[in-house]
């Protein structure tokens, strides 16, 4: 889980990633390696993010700030989803009558 990958391992594992591209991604702060002397280290989350970044770069010619912008939107999307999961968990833990009340209140507020 907490394994740290070297630059070389990252380039070998992420399809479509070259050394030059990784450097550009780091410069654009698309990926934030854990700084480690003598070379940067990357987490599993960085690898997955780099995979997505390469896909977007290859298919949509996104680079630099445009790519950073898209990834920031993706981050926001996932943040809201994580919040929603927490919220739904809290609702699901309520007694059935409370859940029914919430459902009824939502049905009332729904625009037709």
């Amino acid at each position: 889980m907490s394994r740290i990958y070297t630059e070389r391992e990252v380039i070998a594992r992420v399809p479509g990633l070259s050394g030059a591209r990784l450097l550009r991604f780091i410069e654009a702060e698309i990926v934030l390696p854990i700084r480690r002397v003598p070379e940067p280290g990357f987490r599993a989350v960085d690898l997955a993010r780099l995979g997505l970044a390469c896909e977007l770069a290859d298919q949509f010619d996104l680079e630099g700030e445009a790519l950073a912008l898209v990834l920031s939107l993706v981050d926001q999307l996932h943040a809201r989803r994580a919040e929603l999961r927490r919220l739904l968990g809290a609702v699901a833990a309520q007694p059935p009558e409370v859940r029914a009340q919430i459902a009824a209140a939502l049905a009332r507020g729904r625009p037709d």
Partner: protein
């Protein structure tokens, strides 16, 4: 994978290289799980299409496939780690400060549209498969959610709170939970044990156990933040003449000097003899002196005092006169 990579991209064998690229691009847009996290069927479509694209994007390899020299197997990428798996997780370094506490939903409307989604999803019924062999997402028809948090109350001894300890809680279901009490914990503080709450729904993560700690009192020591306060009884002779006495501290007895002429209520500070604080700095022990007379005043002491009073006048209440 699908034995026909052209079909996976929605193309025929006669498609041009440009058409293949375009078709794949479209599938990335509509079916990449990181970009379409609410669509439970996206991952299956995307995996099939990307395997097909890997095979067909190279004209030479495509020609070999078309001639029947290679088949479509073995083309799948070794193992997918979609960003989705990490993106919403606790501690994602790309998430910044999020959550209900920091920003939350701006208004009730946002919440309600989320709930609509949730209720529609439930109404659609469960048990719908999202495609053979692929993990389902969070889309309509399925419900995954974090489990609820569980709340506990834990009574901790004064010394255990000061020095840290490991405690066991027995849960209503008979299981036990090991709780590490960090040293220096304060009364009323809550510990969070990730994943030790109620189980999650569907593929949701379990909730957390929230343990509110109550620290018991100590017969000698009192906490004042990271400082410890102690009342130290001293004899009348020690107060007059000064002394070196043993003082209990949280880490054992320590010798301390009582200065000559110490009054009751005087507070002496023993640096670094308090509780280890969060910043790694130990608080002090504050020692309040209290002069205690012998239970019985013997004639010798009384005589000595009478003699002293004849020659000296000292009024400790001088400042109180109006």
């Amino acid at each position: 994978m699908n034995s026909d990579p052209y079909a996976a991209l929605g193309l025929s064998k006669s498609a041009t290289d440009a058409e293949i690229k375009k078709a794949y691009r479209k599938i990335v847009k509509t079916s990449h799980p990181d970009l379409n996290p609410d669509d439970p069927t996206a991952e299956a479509r995307f995996k099939a299409a990307s395997a097909a694209y890997d095979l067909l994007k190279d004209p030479e390899q495509r020609a070999r496939f078309d001639r029947g020299e290679i088949d479509a197997s073995g083309q799948e990428r070794p193992e997918y780690h979609f960003y989705k798996q990490y993106a919403g997780a606790e501690g994602n370094p790309y998430q910044g400060q999020g959550g209900f506490d920091a920003r939350g939903f701006d208004n009730a409307e946002d919440l309600s549209s989320f709930f609509d989604e949730y209720l529609r999803g439930r109404a659609g019924g469960t048990g719908r498969s999202s495609g053979p062999g692929f993990g389902a997402g969070f889309g309509a028809g399925e419900f995954h959610a974090h489990g609820a948090d569980r709340h506990f109350r834990l009574e901790v001894g004064f010394m255990d709170a000061v020095l840290g300890a490991t405690k066991r809680i027995t849960l209503p279901d008979g299981n036990t939970l090991e709780v590490t009490i960090p040293r220096g914990i304060r009364d009323g503080q809550t510990l969070r044990l990730r994943g030790k709450g109620e189980p999650g729904f569907g593929k949701g993560q379990p909730g957390d156990a929230l343990i509110t700690v109550h620290v018991a009192e100590h017969p000698l020591f009192k906490r004042e933040g990271d400082d410890i306060r102690l009342t130290l009884p001293i004899g009348i002779d020690e107060a007059v003449l000064g002394a070196r006495v043993e003082v209990p501290t949280i880490t054992g007895s320590v010798k301390m000097r009582i200065p000559k002429g110490a009054s009751s209520g005087k507070v002496l500070r023993m640096k670094g003899k308090g509780v280890m604080g969060r910043g790694g700095k130990r608080g002090d022990q504050l020692v309040e002196l209290r002069i205690v007379l012998p239970p019985k005043i013997d004639p010798e002491l009384a005589q000595c005092m009478e003699k002293w009073r004849e020659k000296h006048s000292f009024d400790p209440r001088r400042g109180m006169k109006s």
